[in-house]
Structure formats: C-alpha cells, structure tokens
Symmetry: C2
Subunit: 215 residues, 2 copies
C-alpha cells in the first residue's frame, strides 16, 4: 500500500469514527485522543491527514449534507408529477417533511451542522458553502413554479427564508426541554407554515399577473 493510499484510508477511518461519535454523543463528545484510539493511530497522526478537528467535523458534516441531499433528490424525483401552483405548494410541503424527518431521525448529526462554530479566523471553505447552497436549490424549483416572473435573486432569498423558517420550527421543536413536541405536531406545524407561505406566494403572483400592484 502506497503512502498516499494509507493516508486516504486513515482519513476515511477518522471521518467514520468522528461521524459515529457525533451520531451517538453529539459534537461535544469529540476528542482527538478517543478518535486515535478508535482507529488505532497516534494522536499526532490525525494531524497528518486533517489540519485540525474543525476540518474533520466539516468532513463529517459534508457526509450528513450528502445524506440529506439523497433524501431530497428522491423526493424531488417522485414529485415531478406535481404541476401548477397547487402542485408547487405540495412539492414544498413534501420537501419540508423530508427535512423534518431527516432531522428527527438523525438529530445529533443534523444538529452538528449548525452547532459547529468555526474559530473567528477560520474561513468557511468554498466547497462546504457550495454544498450548503445546493440544499437551498431544492426549494428554488417549486418556488420558481409559484413565482415564474420573479428575478433569480428574489427566488434565492425566498428559498432561504422558507428553509430558515422550517429549520427554526424543527430546531426548537426537537429541543425536548423547551417544547416536548411529538413528531406529528412538529410535522403539522411545518406544513402549516410552508403551506401559508406557498399560498401567499401564489396569491401575490396572481396579483402581479392581474396587473395590480402587489403589497
């Protein structure tokens, strides 16, 4: 086995070990010492394959985003049959359910996406920002169906707002101590907000088409 291959294998093993720790104990359970024990390397060897634990966490988060994306792609493909404004609203509702269920099922891995705060002087790597932006893009398709005449920047902004609104409900709803909300209520709350926003967009698009000035 060549050195480059060994390095790559060690890196993958470390990501997997960190992923398991995060899935079981959350971000705060992560220690370089434990990871080294788990993959059977020296603590110092970790820093031959990643710059620091922050990079390792970003690599774990990248896997979490990829898993979320697979679920979103599957839903988007199944929803291709839904057309028209009502269909677009249903698509948005279904995508929001994918997100809600993903968070409820993979709570600690999902929470690590948001809890992990990089040091001040540590810029967010471009590859990571691109992955995050790809998640928003799933929401943009149905939004364009609802607001066909809106400029792309507006669609992007609405996609972020809607994503953030859903994220807020899921995020506070899964904090058992604050709410203790069963998953069915959480899903209902998300559907309620997504559907209201969808209907609001549909109405404002109709108004624009009718030549009236939208509020």
């Amino acid at each position: 086995m060549k050195a480059a291959e060994r390095r790559q294998n060690l890196k993958e093993a470390l990501i997997t070990a960190a992923e398991r720790t995060i899935a079981r104990q959350g971000l705060h359970g992560l220690r370089a010492r434990d990871l080294a024990d788990k993959v059977g390397c020296a603590v110092g060897a970790i820093y031959n394959v990643v710059a620091d634990l922050d990079e390792l966490i970003l690599l774990v988060n990248s896997r979490t985003i990829a898993a979320l994306e697979r679920a979103l792609t599957k839903a988007a493909e199944a929803d291709a049959r839904l057309v028209g404004p009502e269909g677009a609203i249903e698509r948005l509702e279904r995508l929001s359910m994918v997100y809600t269920d993903f968070a409820a099922t993979n709570t600690l891995r999902w929470r690590a996406l948001y809890e992990h705060r990089l040091p001040e002087d540590y810029p967010l790597p471009a590859w990571y920002s691109e992955e995050l932006m790809r998640v928003f893009s799933y929401v943009e398709g149905p939004l364009r169906m609802l607001q066909p005449d809106a400029p792309p920047e507006r669609v992007e902004l609405i996609a972020r707002s809607l994503f953030s609104a859903v994220h807020g409900i899921v995020s506070l709803g899964l904090e058992e101590k604050l709410y203790s909300l069963p998953l069915t209520s959480l899903r209902e709350q998300v559907i309620f907000v997504v559907s209201a926003v969808g209907r609001g967009l549909m109405l404002s698009a109709e108004k624009t088409v009718g030549g009236r000035i939208d509020r």
Copy 2:
C-alpha cells in the same frame, strides 16, 4: 450587613459579571475562576449562592428574556390602535421586528438563550419555562384577532410555529458565515414570512366563517 443580604449581593454581582462575559465573548467564555476574580470572591464562594454555572447561566438568560419582554410590551402597547385582521397582521409583523432587532443588537446574549444546553439529568426549572412561555403569549393576542373561533390550544400551537419560524430566519441570518445577510434583508425576510402566515390565517378564518370546510 446580614449574611442573607451579603449572599444576595454576591449573587447579583455574579449574575452581572456573567452577563457581561456572555455579552462580550458568548457562553463559551464563561469560567468560574474568571467570575470569582471579577467579583472578588473565592471560586468556592460561587457555589454558596448558586448550585452551579448552569443555574448562573439560567439567571443571566432570565435577565435577557426580561429585556426582550420589555421591548415586546412597549411594541404591544403602541400597537393597541391596530384593529381588525389587517391590524393583527401588522401587529405580528411589528412584534417580529422587535425580536429581529433585539437579536441583532444583543446577539451573544440572545444566542445564549438557545445555546445553553442543560445536562441530561437537569430539569428545566418551572420558573424558567414560565418566562419562555410568556414570550409566546405576546404572539397569541394578534393570532386570536385573526382566528377568533380557534380553540386556545390551536392558537398556542400557531404562536409557537410562528415564533419558531421567525427565530429560524433570524438565527441562520445572524450566522455571518452561512449567509452574510445585511439587517435590512433579514428584516424583509422575516416580514415576508410573517405576513404570508398572517394572510393565510386570515383567509382560512374567512373560509370557516363562510361555512366552507377549511383545507
């Protein structure tokens, strides 16, 4: 000075010192050693007046909630003139702006409200839950104006959904690394979602009054 009074003074001094640290460095900057130095007591003396740092953080958070409540009360009083469904939507929009501006102005103190996670075996004190619930109650007034026939549990649930949706937008919007969103855009996004939800509620109440079955 009596012992009880000395204890109370030390407790207040510790809360103030912790509040300042959180406002400047966030929750992660908090150390018992530093707090003791700041108020001029022994580290052990801290635990004569609070059970642990978790309790101290809850007391700081309680002050933050009180400051938010003062801002919400002021807005609610000024908005008493707004009547009817359109007035109710405007009240919701204005309350959401109070929340957005409070979070943008007191970001680290506000973030501590959500970041502070109590240990598994540490129940959320009843007084703290009550304070949190009081914040939701500001949203319930205008919602009752929009859905006068809805049962109180439904109004409560909608209040939480709307609060959480606004919180999500503000929370992700203030994470500079993810978005880098100027405050004006953030405010626009919040208004957009609150107004859409408000309009959705207004329409569904009209439908119910008209005798049609609401979706």
